[in-house]
């Protein structure tokens, strides 16, 4: 696809080289927009792959009894669905947005480390081909859940080393992307673009990047220990050899908890960009948003064992992790209140990006409430490992992270392609998605509380009604996403020409709206004028 290439008939065509032609353009590119596009397309493809796996799961759970798949295959589906959605769909999509938007938002021509940028993307397709190939190996793919807990994960067949190497490659890719973002933001801001002038999307990504650099090596180390336990006779996680299976859980969640903020912080940035634009008001409490995000980032390192309330920690440990986890509600609450205050007394319009942003605020808050409930350790002794938890993390990740990605796509698509997307189809996509996501995940709160454990391929008949409902919601949700893919395709092909501002009054909200739509191949070859920056709010 030729997003930024075809017509540079504007004033910006003074640059002397465009991209190479054809397939090699994408293989050798060092351009932040091309790499951003590659990341976004990868994210979208993996979203459909992971989604297909979710539909296998929901088809099997439509009614009690085993109808379609062996339980062992079911466990492979739950494991790969999560790994692919986390590492294949959401993280690459955010990296794509960062690549596209950060140079445009800070007034830079490109990312600071373009060749490394190319490498960090091209590790991904190979990683996911390798991960998908484990499905066809003897013994099937890893089936111990995305957390890859030992000793169970050590029962994996030939797939174990390939799964571990996939994690290593994904970790390398993430760390390089993170380094690139930090270096770019710290060194390539246009004159006048101070840290406290940065759009929140940039801020949240900088904090996310620090989290990535801190925790990906921990995960890589933990899975390497699995590898040596399995093949080289070590006993890190084997009690019979002096090890401890729970040690793995501590290592995993020291990575895993910051990881969930890696999946949500950039969403906070996106929502903080979109709500002011469509409310026609400056963002409320910019400084407190920056501090709240930083606070969430810091807290994410000291709450990990709330994923392990049932492993038999000492009482003091349980209580410490309870208190620390509850604290996260404070900065998260500040964010939600700031969004409400931004909308308050605004002049709102409800184009698709705004609809998704509002749904994000409503439904992410739902996930926040259940998260608060789960932070209370004695109550979590009931909630843990049930469908209540499944409902919780899908509320924060689907109408949370994924809705933010939808919102971002609709918001910036006209900027990327130079064409307005089809607003009617966008609204149809929004309503189908929002209604079905609730039909899918809301009933899971109920069956979870009533006693249905997670990660089971079959269930007692008293859970049948809500599971059937949930499956119907899942299928409607899944197929609605084809509309999303079509809307993107259509906007790339053509449509009403977008102005450089795209949205009414958007120029006041960010530098990207001062570039043409589509923007020139190299974003800000000349730094934006200081007046433009000082006029941003």
């Amino acid at each position: 696809m030729s997003v930024a290439t075809h017509d540079d008939a504007h004033a910006h065509d003074h640059h002397d080289h465009g991209p190479a032609k054809g397939f090699m353009r994408w293989v050798t590119t060092t351009n932040h927009k091309d790499i951003g596009t590659l990341y976004l397309i990868t994210g979208l493809i993996m979203f459909f792959v992971g989604g297909a796996m979710a539909l296998v799961i929901r088809a099997e759970l439509f009614e009690p009894g085993l109808q379609y798949v062996d339980p062992h295959f079911f466990n492979q589906m739950t494991t790969l669905h999560a790994l692919i959605m986390v590492f294949g769909a959401v993280m690459p999509a955010f990296a794509g947005l960062a690549n596209w938007m950060i140079p445009m938002m800070i007034g830079a021509p490109d990312m600071a480390l373009p060749r490394m940028n190319n490498w960090s993307f091209w590790l991904l397709p190979f990683s996911f081909v390798m991960l998908a190939s484990t499905l066809f190996m003897d013994g099937g793919a890893a089936a111990a859940g995305w957390t890859l807990y030992p000793p169970l994960v050590l029962q994996t067949g030939n797939a174990l080393p390939f799964t571990v190497f996939t994690v290593h490659m994904l970790g390398m890719s993430s760390i390089m992307a993170a380094i690139n973002i930090i270096v770019t933001v710290f060194n390539m801001r246009a004159p006048g673009m101070t840290m406290m002038k940065l759009p929140l999307f940039v801020w949240t990504w900088v904090i996310t990047a620090f989290l990535l650099i801190a925790v990906m090596p921990v995960f890589a180390g933990a899975v390497t220990m699995l590898l040596t336990d399995k093949f080289f006779g070590t006993s890190f996680f084997n009690a019979a050899g002096g090890g401890d299976p729970v040690l793995y859980q501590h290592l995993f969640w020291f990575f895993g908890h910051p990881e969930v903020y890696i999946l949500i912080l950039p969403s906070f940035g996106i929502i903080s960009s979109i709500i002011p634009t469509f409310s026609r008001k400056p963002l409320f409490g910019y400084a407190s948003m920056v501090y709240a995000t930083s606070a969430i980032g810091l807290l994410s390192f000291i709450v990990w064992a709330h994923h392990q309330y049932t492993v038999g920690m000492p009482l003091a440990g349980e209580l410490y992790f309870t208190y620390a986890t509850m604290l996260i509600a404070v900065p998260t609450g500040v964010k939600v209140f700031n969004w409400l205050a931004t909308m308050w007394k605004g002049a709102m319009t409800f184009e698709t990006p705004m609809l998704f942003a509002i749904a994000f605020v409503v439904l992410f808050t739902m996930g926040g409430f259940t998260g608060l409930m789960m932070s209370i350790s004695p109550a979590d002794l009931q909630y843990h490992d049930t469908y209540f938890i499944v409902a919780h993390f899908h509320y924060v990740l689907v109408p949370g992270a994924v809705f933010a990605l939808f919102a971002a796509t609709y918001y910036w698509l006209p900027k990327w392609t130079g064409h307005m997307y089809d607003e009617r189809l966008g609204q149809l996509h929004f309503w189908l998605t929002t209604i079905s996501v609730n039909i899918c995940f809301f009933p899971q709160h109920f069956v979870g509380l009533a006693g249905m454990p997670r990660r089971i391929p079959d269930y007692a008949v008293q859970f049948a009604e809500f599971n059937a409902m949930s499956s119907v919601g899942a299928f409607v949700f899944g197929f609605s996403q084809l509309i999303f893919a079509y809307v993107i395709y259509k906007a790339i092909q053509g449509g009403e020409k977008a102005t450089s501002e795209v949205w009414e009054g958007a120029e006041a909200h960010g530098l990207e709206w001062h570039l043409s739509s589509p923007p020139p191949y190299h974003s800000w070859t000349v730094a934006p004028e200081k007046e433009i920056i000082s006029d941003l709010h």
């Binding site: 003897d138 013994g139 029962q155 604290l327 002049a347």
Partner: protein, 385 residues
């Protein structure tokens, strides 16, 4: 505040009361499967109350937040011709909405701490039971003198559920009594005694969970975790393994039968008597047919989950019995594999008696086209232990 909460809580219970009444055990059914059971132990009541308190606090905050949002969405829209305001900060407001949630959190942390301390207090228990998770069954060992010491048995999914849950069984699960929540040998405990449950596992992580007892806890190989229960009412309570433990994680339920003290004593006497009477007679020789018939049952209950009912296993994870080196090689190696296990293959020496071991080895060597013609006698097994 507290009174209002209690009122709301009882209001909630009334709404779902119908659902509770249906089962008589506190867990909702069908469209009524909506909320945590109020439970039958002190811990479960405390946790249920705590859950309802937090739920209602969240509902109250939700009403406020969503109320403001809805008001704003209705009134502050461009189509109403409003001019957008210009404000973008308000220090007082920001401090207030940082401090108020903090105060609410402290109000929630206090009862949470109290409940957690009670849950963790396993002191002064009157009896102990050791629970061991296996792939995919539970083992219960009674540890307290005079209250069942010496009773030791395995508890697996009952045969009817097991038959119905096979892929393509064509058996409607709703025709099976307590589908997937029924076992062959339930755990039996006395009512109104503080019982300490000690948990461990033989192979991978499991978690022991009966929702009406209020908590779950992981069973970890090589470590012992614990918790306590004191059930007020005799009855039957059901739960499941809650930690992913492999292929049949969804098929290792827990059933606890709570008896009055007198009935419990009687049960203990019966069990200990039966244990003596049922000691397998290992001196008796069995015919090949007898061994094969017995072995087939043992295989279905213990081996088929991994090695598959047809003995073909699953490439890469579960080796086939059909034509395998072990099942067609020396008898000694085969018996030792069953007794002592290897890697993911569990040791069956505590799970099967000598008659069962002999029978299942015989069955494996003759079934699945292995046709070795060997018949292994119970008396032979002792030599390999």
């Amino acid at each position: 505040m507290k009174k209002t909460l209690q009122l709301l809580t009882s209001f909630w219970s009334v709404i779902w009361g119908v659902a509770y009444a249906e089962t008589g055990t506190g867990t909702g059914v069908g469209w009524g499967a909506l909320n945590l059971p109020a439970g039958v132990t002190p811990d479960s009541h405390d946790i249920h109350d705590l859950h309802m308190t937090i739920l209602w606090i969240c509902v109250a905050i939700g009403v406020l937040v969503y109320g403001i949002l809805i008001y704003s969405l209705i009134h502050h829209r461009k189509s109403k011709g409003v001019e957008p305001a210009k404000f973008h900060e308000n220090t007082v407001l920001e401090v207030v909405w940082t401090i108020i949630p903090f105060v609410i959190l402290i109000a929630m942390a206090v009862p949470a701490t109290k409940v957690m301390m009670k849950v963790y207090d396993t002191s002064e228990s009157e009896m102990s039971i050791k629970v061991t998770g296996y792939q995919w069954k539970w083992r219960y060992e009674y540890l307290t003198d005079g209250l069942g010491k010496g009773i030791d048995f395995f508890s697996s999914l009952d045969a009817k559920s097991n038959e119905a849950r096979q892929l393509g069984s064509k058996i409607d699960p709703s025709t099976v009594d307590h589908y997937l929540l029924n076992v062959d040998n339930p755990l039996v405990i006395p009512a109104n005694k503080k019982i300490r449950i000690l948990l461990t596992a033989a192979d991978v992580l499991h978690a022991w969970w009966v929702p009406e007892f209020g908590w779950k806890k992981d069973a970890i190989p090589g470590f012992v975790t614990d918790g306590w229960i004191k059930v007020e009412q005799p009855g039957i309570y059901r739960g499941q393994c809650a930690e992913l433990c492999g292929r049949d994680h969804g098929f290792m339920p827990i059933v606890v039968v709570v008896k009055s003290e007198a009935e419990y004593k009687q049960w203990v006497a019966e069990q200990l008597g039966k244990k003596e009477a049922n000691k397998p007679d290992i001196s008796k020789s069995l015919t090949l047919e007898e061994l094969n018939a017995k072995g087939k049952e043992v295989y279905a209950a213990n081996c088929a989950a991994c090695h598959m009912p047809n003995g073909e296993g699953m490439a890469g994870t579960f080796p086939a019995i059909k034509g395998s080196k072990v099942a067609t090689g020396p008898i000694a190696d085969h018996v030792k594999m069953v007794l002592h296990g290897k890697a993911a293959m569990p040791a069956f020496k505590d799970q099967l008696n000598d008659v069962e071991t002999a029978a299942v080895v015989t069955y494996q060597r003759n079934g699945f086209d292995n046709n070795k013609g060997d018949s292994i006698q119970p008396a032979d097994i002792q030599a390999y232990k």
